[in-house]
Amino acid sequence: MAVPSEDVLTKVSTEAAEDFIDAYYTALDGSRTTISSYYMPQQTLPDGRIIPVIVYNGNVLANAAAFQQMFENNMPFTHYEVQSVNSHIMNPTFSSADLQKQTPDQERSEKNMSVLVQVSGYVRLEERKEGPMKGFSETIVLVPNVAAMGKGKGKGSEQRSWLIQSQNFRYVV
């Protein structure tokens, strides 16, 4: 399997971050029933820890479904506005066993990574025009969606290219 060149790696990792962030915050604002589809399936690691990890303002969420439920039932109007995004490759050889088995060579090698994303922006709460605003910072670790590989791009939940493995959100202003 050929190792992708540095420019391909940069392209994949930055565009993954941009596309994901774009869709994810839109879902928080307006398609809350789809929120949990942005997270990897729950998994217990050999050391007993459970992923995905979701920490929101210091609240540790049990799983993606609990997070989605908070947004569906308790969160008033939100408008997230992303002002800055940056991303790095965290692990350039993210070769899960599933990934090795299922995917065509090129896609596997190009998406064979986990991506660390850092976002800075603000969220307007409760009311579109006059609602209170809070500045936020969010760090997200994305992993390739093995189930979606080889199936082309699409919008359905099983088709998302990248999924959240770890997330840390904070109001900072």
Partner: protein, 656 residues
């Protein structure tokens, strides 16, 4: 990133072009016979920027005046009335600032954001405000869209008169893949005099309200409007939905004139009935909500509300509603389960269609709750370390960054370590400080900034990414000298969280799937120091994300990733937990420690909670089992960790 910002970014070039076109058009402002400025030149459509695909049908607004039917005269009069009421002579003076002007927007309905619940309207409005603000002259005063309504393919927005030019400068821009077209405010007759027709309408509507308002029951009776002889005679409340859409805004203007300020309206009108008006959705009557936001009783019975969607516009309005009547609407047949949804929307609602849905106590608790408590209350940091690796790293890192960056880079970073920097030039500022006039001066950062929202070309993204200690140290050397607050002395100025993270690269190559590492997220501030004098020049806030993994350095730790966001100073008030943790009450409970003080025991519980991620009560249990020997408690925890059920650890907060 929203769809709108993509569109904006993708179409930066057309935006630039249109500015010239608008500048030309501004020359069209002229004076009328009396020398008063008239902004509305005749044949206004012709002055528009001719953009391919920008023009779509504007509905009745595009019809030549002569071709209009007599039937629509009422609508025009109403508009004149609305405009006139919005003018200088408007009676409500106390809390009004500037008169509002309407702008019609077309061509937006095919946008890519239309899949969202409201057809992309809220996204469009946010986008318009942002675009218009950046074009609002040197002052850059934020442009606010005060009101909006959708009339078929047309979105009608209301803005302060002063903001009209800025909004119009956005005309022809591309929103989410489509060109939008705007039409200037109509009927901008000189504002000091109301036209005869407008005056007559105001008199008429005032008379209608006088007749239909009962000051002893505080009820505004708007039943059977189509059968009101006074209204019917004018043809204002006829079959045409577009005409009706104008009726309620005008009526509400008159109400504001009659009942006065928001507080006075709240006291004067407790109940409104809109029974028997063939109303299909809240769209046409939406202006009632901002005029009477504190309404307690609302009767919508015997109308044409068909589904939840037709009521959705008022989902977040009327936060003090106690009684709602929806009987006699098609929704009863089409969606018999609507009660649950409606009850959930209005947390203070006690009666729906006369049937009790909540006790008074429950409603009172809900109301108090919703005004403040948002989900995800700000809690103290979630800091789950491993063998103090993260703690030691942080304690070394920032003093090192302030004093000797080259040594620091060689200490923690290896050939595969990555660093990059992003500047958020638009970040919110400290709400407790007035420093809006101070320039931010990003010169020393901006050429290194890798903000992907701004830096779109691949070569720039590659060159602003630094790998290896030497490249990283060289980048750091160009950044201003910093002084971070002392971690021990000034802990409130920091917010530091840490979580273990799997699949971090293993430099030894022994674990191809990667090994466990730590994800550290830090938020804080620093001062930029003028080196010769040692004086602080500038205060900044920052967010910094580290991924730590095993490595060959002195501490066996390497930085895998280091992402830094620098932004305007935002203070540290947001870091403070909203409520004090319940830890102290737990630790102070009986059964505590022999030989050590309550305070020390509390600190041990807090520390163990931090280090293990367990809930405080289990940390306390664990310490008790270990005889209040902290290290023994940690060992106990490590031994049983994998067998502990999930409920031992911090969970999602219980739903209210």
């Amino acid at each position: 990133m929203t769809a709108s910002s993509i569109a904006a970014r993708r179409h930066a070039a057309p935006a630039g072009t249109s500015r010239g076109g608008i500048a030309k058009r501004r020359g069209a402002v002229r004076a009328d016979r009396d020398g008063d400025l008239m902004m509305d030149a005749p044949g206004r459509g012709r002055g528009k920027i001719g953009k391919a695909g920008a023009r779509t049908s504007t509905g009745s607004a595009g019809t030549p005046l002569a071709a209009r039917t007599a039937d629509s005269r009422g609508a025009r009069n109403l508009e004149r009335l609305t405009a006139g009421l919005g003018g200088v002579s408007r009676p409500r003076a106390s809390n009004s600032q500037k008169p509002l002007k309407e702008i019609k927007i077309t061509g937006w309905s095919g946008n890519k954001a239309k899949a969202s619940d409201d057809g992309g309207v809220s996204t469009l409005i946010a986008w318009l405000e942002k675009r218009a603000t950046t074009r609002n002259g040197a002052a850059k005063k934020a442009v606010k869209i005060k009101k909006s309504r959708v009339d078929g393919e047309t979105l009608v927005i209301s803005v302060n008169e002063d903001d009209v030019p800025a909004v119009l400068r956005v005309n022809g821009f591309v929103f989410a893949g489509v060109n939008i077209a705007m039409e200037r405010p109509r009927s901008m007759s000189p504002e000091t005099s109301q036209s005869g027709a407008g005056h007559e309408l105001k008199r008429l509507l005032t008379s209608v309200i006088d007749r239909r308002y009962n000051s002893s029951t505080k009820l505004l009776d708007l039943r059977d409007l189509a059968h009101d002889p006074e209204i019917a005679a004018t043809g204002l409340f006829n079959e045409k939905e577009s005409t009706r859409a104008k009726f309620f805004p005008a009526l509400m203007k008159v109400c504001e004139g009659i009942f006065g300020t928001l507080q006075q309206r709240k006291e004067a009108v407790l109940s409104i009935t809109l029974e028997n008006n063939e109303i299909p959705s809240t769209t046409a009557i939406t202006t009632i909500a901002p005029t009477f936001p504190d309404l307690k009783n609302l009767d919508l019975s015997n109308n044409q509300f068909r589904d939840i969607a037709s009521l959705e516009g008022w989902k977040l309005k009327f936060r003090h509603l106690e009684h709602l009547v929806l009987s006699g609407n098609p929704i009863e047949q089409e969606n018999p389960d609507y009660h649950a949804t409606i009850t959930r929307w209005y947390p203070g609602l006690r009666f729906l269609n006369g049937v009790q849905v909540r006790s008074e106590e429950e409603a009172a608790i809900n109301i108090k709750g919703v005004t403040r408590a948002l989900p995800f209350p700000v809690k103290g940091p979630s800091f789950v370390d491993q063998d103090k690796v993260a703690e030691n790293f942080i304690k070394n890192f920032f003093p090192g960054f302030d004093s000797d960056r080259a040594t620091l880079a060689n200490y923690y970073y290896d050939a595969q370590s990555d660093f990059s920097l992003s500047v958020n030039t638009a970040a919110m500022r400290d709400p407790n400080q007035q420093q809006t006039g101070v320039p931010q001066e990003w010169d020393s950062y901006i050429k290194k900034s890798r903000n992907l929202k701004k830096v779109t070309h691949l070569p720039a993204r590659m060159s602003r990414h630094f790998r290896g200690p030497q490249a990283i140290a060289e980048c750091w050397a160009t950044l201003p000298t910093t002084r971070h607050p002392d971690l021990a002395m000034d802990p409130s100025k920091w917010l530091i969280e840490c979580q273990p993270i799997p699949y971090v690269p293993d430099p030894s190559g022994q674990s191809p799937l990667g090994v466990s590492g730590l994800l550290i997220t830090l938020h804080g501030e620093y001062e930029e120091i003028d080196v010769p004098s040692g004086q602080a020049k500038k205060q900044r806030s920052f967010d910094r994300t580290f991924v730590l993994g095993p490595g060959g350095g002195p501490e066996g730790v390497r930085v895998v990733n280091d992402l830094l966001t620098v932004r305007a100073y935002g203070g540290f008030a947001a870091f403070k937990p909203e409520e004090e943790n319940a830890v102290s009450t737990v630790a102070a409970a009986p059964g505590a420690p022999g030989g050590i003080t309550i305070e020390v025991a509390e600190q041990m519980v807090v520390e163990l909670t931090k280090q293990t991620g367990m809930l405080p009560q289990y940390s306390k249990d664990c310490l008790e089992q270990a005889g209040w020997d902290f290290n023994k408690a940690l060992e106990t925890f490590a031994a049983v960790r994998q067998n502990l059920p999930a409920e031992y650890f911090a969970q999602a907060p219980v739903l209210v």
